[in-house]
Amino acid sequence: MSVATFLSDSLAIAENEFRQFRRNRSAILISLVVLPLFFTVSFGAGQGGAGTSFSPTANIPIGFVDNDNTIASLRLWQTLTRSPDFHNLIQSYNEQAAIAELGTKRIYAVIVVPKGFQDALENGNQARLVLYTDDSEPGVSDQIQSTLTGYAQNFDPNVEVQPALSQLQKQSVAGVGVVRKGAIFASFNVGLTTILAIVQIFSVFYEIAGGMARERDEGTYARLLASPIPIGSIMLGKTLFDILLSVLRTFIVLGMGIYGYGAKPSTDFGTILALSLIVAIVTMGIGFVAAALKLGQRAVVIITFFLILFLFAFSGLVIDNNLLVGISKTISSALPFTYAFDALRRTILLGRPLLSLTFDLEYMIEFIIVSFALAFVLLHSFRERLIA
């Protein structure tokens, strides 16, 4: 078979895929609307846009019990209430009554200034604040504790109006400041790298493996194999079709991220598109292998769900690869998506040139070659079984 015929067959397959896609309203909605929209909007709503900032503790109702009633404790109250982090501080006069309110959703923490607070500061001893928290709210105790500690560490009882604290001062230890350098990224910019990859992985796996499962169910796959079109052309045709969809998805996610939530990637669009397509092609390879295993449509969807969960644990989405140990680290190091997320972060966040990420790129390209070759062999070997 000549190369021209091979390519012509592949284009025919791609064209057929497009025709089917155009006629399937729910496929269009899921691939190009629901998945990009749900992930981007939910992340943007939860974390705020890249250009906005908010203090997570600002509006949490917190009780404040002053058992010291001195100038120092009054200044601490004023410092906290004037800060951008404690807008909802509620003064209470009875420690036990305030603590009893915890768990009722009326307040989520109580800051108690114990008796002798000012004396301890005047005598050069370490003063204490006691923070009672409702730890049934995940993350809230930690957040209030670290924010309050920042103010406590920098509190000077001799100053009537405490200067506003920078983020840096809030994180520093009294006596030795810690000056942080290196770009700090808005959480939406960080999230954009994850959303882009997750949307591609979710959609592409479903389109390739799920699409072939649907064709098998409908009997069109058997007819396709009975035609003189080789399996290589079928794979290439479907790949071309999905690459175009992936380009559209990249535009949609980036468009929503940049124009809807103010994301500012540190690299050019071409680099992001190239990486996004590499992630998509890596997923296609896995999708073709899954398709060769004769999975049903529903099984494909459920595997997609577990694949994403798996990636959350092992590919550096929640925990960096270098923090994992033992078998978790081995799995993480073998996953091509670990390198994809790394490359996306290095380019989108740090602005590194794509070609400087040689190891990440090499690994992903090698994975693509191996997975496509494996899928070709499996689809070829199981062709009878797949149409049975």
Binding site: S26, I30, L35, F38, F39, S42, G44, G46, Q47, G48, P56, L102, G103, L121, G124, Q126, A127, R128, L129, V130, L131, Y132, T133, D134, D135, P138, V140, A152, D156, V173, A174, G175, V176, G177, V178, V179, R180, K181, G182, I184, I198, Y206, R298, V300, V301, I302, F305, I308, L309, F312, A313, I319, D320, N322, L323, L324, D342, R345, R346, L350
Partner: protein, 364 residues
């Protein structure tokens, strides 16, 4: 009974019902194990530009850290930054010239430059430097090891006491996972109960039988209730094996997960009147589930979300279900504390069920 019999005959669905909780908990354990590991070796480089006993002491604190590993001592600030830029290290720590003198005056500082594309490792570096600085301050103020620079002490210490006595960063997401299992189970049940019957053509036959549509849906919902009770029991056993102490009334926990599942089932029923394909419905439901991780209080409290996210969280009945589960499991709350949450779930289901029946009648 018919639904449970069908499930028993479908090994794939049966395995999934059991596997969902186990896989979710497995992933949780991997994540928690990595976060709570007692040692890490996050690579850092250090440039000591001061070369005094004080900077030596700081360097000692850094090399003793259980979380960072000083891979290289460099001569200049630029070399340190270069190591981070070239991805040879996650962090560069600079002890500036004059550190010793500044320590005497109580205004010393160190510079930390981190590769913040490594989200968690960079936090470990900053945490280790803060800890090192704190330990140095403690040494200096107590005159340990013959070091005494007359340093100002940290004026105020914050002591945290949680309601349950757990550390502030205890395992806060397990109840959220129980809620998530109830949601996923409810969605899975609706796919099994309605869409598969539609695809096989048995659903119209069922509706033509002398049984009302309400009775059909109620029957299918009863199967979901039984399955949710089984899933909840399995999750509670896993929690117990994991060492989680359940303070609340078990019946209330089961009631909460059942109400979450009923609401999810009712929503799924409404969606299934418009989306007929099993695979499409499953994709849609899974796509809906991921945002719930952040918006419905599964992983983090909705109190910590941005204002827009809080508004969405407040409008989701699942948020109230997760909230009730946390209060029950961690605080041992009684019925009075969670009745509002349960009512929201119940009323939301009551609103959705007639809508689903009405839409179903139009589309059979």
């Amino acid at each position: 009974m018919k639904e449970l019999k069908q499930l028993r005959r479908d090994p794939v669905s049966l395995i999934l019902t059991v596997m969902f909780p186990i896989i979710l908990i497995g992933i949780f354990i991997v994540i928690v194990a990595a976060f709570s590991a007692t040692t890490h070796n996050v690579p850092v480089v250090v440039a000591d530009l001061d070369g005094t006993p004080a900077s030596d002491a700081m360097l000692n604190e850094l090399t003793r850290s259980r979380f960072i590993h000083v891979t290289q001592l460099v001569q200049t600030e630029d070399q340190a930054y270069q190591a981070v830029n070239n991805a040879q290290a996650v962090g560069a720590i600079i002890i500036p010239q004059g550190f010793g003198k500044a320590l005497l005056a109580g205004d010393a500082f160190v510079i930390v430059s981190t590769d913040n594309s490594k989200l968690t490792s960079s936090q470990f570096v900053v945490g280790a430097v803060n800890q090192g600085a704190q330990d140095l301050v403690n040494q200096v103020t107590s005159g340990e090891g013959g070091i005494n620079f007359g340093l100002k002490i940290a004026p105020i210490e914050v002591i945290t006491r949680t309601m349950t006595g757990r550390p502030p960063s205890g395992d806060p997401i397990l109840p959220g996972f129980l809620g998530l299992i109830a949601i996923l189970g409810g969605f899975d049940d609706i796919v099994n109960a309605i869409n598969r019957e539609r695809e096989r053509g048995t659903f119209p036959r069922l509706t033509l039988s002398p049984v009302s549509l309400f009775a059909v849906y109620s029957g299918k919902m009863s199967a979901t209730i039984v399955l949710t009770i089984l899933r909840t029991a399995l999750m509670l056993v896993i929690f117990s094996l994991y060492g989680l102490v359940i303070h609340g009334n078990l019946i209330l926990i089961f009631l909460t997960t059942v109400l979450i599942a009923i609401f999810t089932f009712s929503l799924g029923l409404t969606i299934s009147t418009r989306i007929r394909s099993t695979a499409t419905l499953t994709v849609l439901e899974i796509a809906m589930t991921f945002p719930l991780f952040s918006l419905a209080g599964t992983v983090n409290s909705p109190l910590l979300l941005a204002p827009g996210g809080q508004a969405i969280a407040d409008s989701l009945p699942w948020t109230y279900g997760n909230d009730a589960l946390r209060r029950l499991i961690y605080l041992g709350a009684g019925p009075n504390a969670i009745v509002g949450d349960l009512l929201i779930l119940f009323v939301s289901s009551l609103i959705l069920m007639p809508i689903a029946i009405l839409l179903s009648k139009r589309t059979i």
